[in-house]
């Protein structure tokens, strides 16, 4: 089972514009990491006037390639602090690929590389001496299918902090994380039970709690509600609204109405057919209410109203 906390291989080659990642089983001794600043304002919330003003993830003219194949391109997308940014679009438009680029999950795929720049609080995420493990701690991810570890509820949450070297105060971390994920009351009396005994919706909230236990400031979500029923979906959406105060959230969803309900801004991607293959591109990025009442691009309008080319 994929464990997104597992140490990944760092070590980049190639010029500044073109970041290749080593074969999955190559081990390299990385140069000392640039330490990513530990004192971000976002974990303490921001006041009304500046909420959302600062760009946390600055995505500049980014394309993602798998070998020679350009999966998605033309992406310039400023992700702002304490906002929920949604990415929508038809299958194959590259939204999930782009999401994975935000925390270097694509590193785990052979031949994956990006062009362009993704900077996180001003630091180039793909710079040679950036530690991808640290990236994934700061920029956490929640997946479509809940994937709790086959461990107790407690150990699921404690795992990340333990790996990071924490020995004391784990109980507080576990409680805090489960409370933040609106799960504490339901599981506080059975923390030693297996995580797999939870319902789908509870498992997904557990995965969210697990992600925030290591104190990220960005949480990426890849269709987190796709496998959940409407009640569980509502609970997650409610949770996302609350989490926005302390975290920055990027969510990929194929449910337009969900994007409309929970996001501050929405990015619409579309597919182009190039030589028989579908590639993705960013079409439009705007405040969600504007996009859903009066989109600027005809392609966005067509997609939202159900007219597909």
């Amino acid at each position: 089972m994929a464990d997104e906390r597992a140490p990944a291989q760092s070590g980049a080659e190639g010029g500044p514009e073109d970041r290749h990642f080593g074969h999955a089983d190559r081990r390299e001794h990385a140069a000392p990491s640039i330490s990513l600043k530990a004192d971000f304002a976002s974990n303490h919330g921001t006041d009304e006037a500046t909420a959302g003003a600062e760009v946390v993830l600055d995505v500049r003219d980014v394309a993602v390639y798998y070998g020679d194949f350009r999966a998605v391109g033309g992406v310039t997308l400023p992700i702002r602090m304490n906002e929920v940014t949604a990415m929508i679009g038809p299958s194959g438009c590259g939204k999930s690929t782009m999401l994975r680029a935000f925390n270097r999950m694509n590193d785990l795929i052979v031949g994956a590389r990006i062009e362009g720049l993704i900077s996180y609080h001003g630091i180039d995420l793909y710079a040679p001496n950036v530690d991808p493990v640290e990236v994934r701690r700061r920029i956490g991810m929640v997946f479509q299918k809940p994937n709790p570890f086959p461990k107790s509820i407690y150990d699921n949450i404690a795992y990340g902090p333990r790996i990071a070297g924490r020995r004391k105060g784990l109980e507080e971390v576990v409680e805090r994380s489960l409370r933040s994920a609106a799960l504490w009351d339901e599981v506080k009396d059975r923390l030693k039970d297996s995580a797999l005994s939870l319902s789908g919706g509870q498992q997904q909230r557990l995965c969210i709690a697990r992600a925030i236990a290591v104190e990220p400031d960005v949480v990426l979500m890849d269709e987190p509600c796709s496998s959940l029923d409407p009640i569980a979906t509502n609970a997650i959406e409610e949770l996302i609204r609350q989490l926005r105060e302390a975290y920055t959230i990027v969510i990929v969803t194929h449910n337009m109405q969900q994007a409309a309900r929970i996001s501050d801004r929405t990015a619409f991607f579309t597919t182009n057919v190039n030589g028989g293959k579908r590639t993705g591109e960013l079409v439009e990025f705007d405040f969600t209410d504007k996009l859903f009442t009066n989109p600027g691009d005809q392609r966005t309008e067509d997609y939202l109203t159900g007219r597909f080319g």
């Binding site: 009066n294 109203t305 080319g309």
Partner: protein, 237 residues
Amino acid sequence: MTDSRSDFHEELERLKSDMVRMAAAVTEGVSRVTEALLRQDVAEADQIVAADDELDLLALETEERMIEVIALQAPVASDLRKVLVDLRMVMEVERSGDLVTNIAKAIPRLQGAELSPQLRGLIDQMREEAVKLFRKAIDSYVEGDAGLASTVDEFDDRLDALHVEYLDTLFASFGTSQLTPQQGFQLAVIGRFYERIGDHAVNISERVQYMVTGRLPAHAGAERARARREAQEQAHR
């Protein structure tokens, strides 16, 4: 381009046709009631009053279908703006139909009143302008033509001017004409009904502009209040 929501969009097209039908009933009604007024045809006036019930029923049924569309189809973007504008238009058209009825109801009260050639001429001109305005507004809706819609307000100025002229002519005649006070009052109010129909046409044209451009019409009063609010906020910073 495949339309994956063709049932929904076909319903929107049907709603559009129904809106056009209702608007045609109104413009026809304006002409009919004017002729009845100038001929003092009470029987025709009664029929016009009864016909308004049909318009009311059509308006109600259309509104119900629009609500259903919103509840079941969750329209967004241009589809949403279209349905919202349709909802407003039903209101404007239905109210315009009521104004036609108001004119019709005045006809029995004007039995035996002598209308001077000037007054008759002005009434006929107001009819012509009101019908023109309404048709322009509806054409702009059918064509999705924001440019045409934006001209309706200007043309309404003509109707407003005619209304003023009509009132001036009416009041000037009070000393010399045979009109009773009640008849004079009734005639003055009739002028207002034509002018109000023009206003509804302007409202429709503003909504059409919103439907096409996505920008709500600027209202002088709202703009003034907004400017005052911003000035106050500036002063407090």
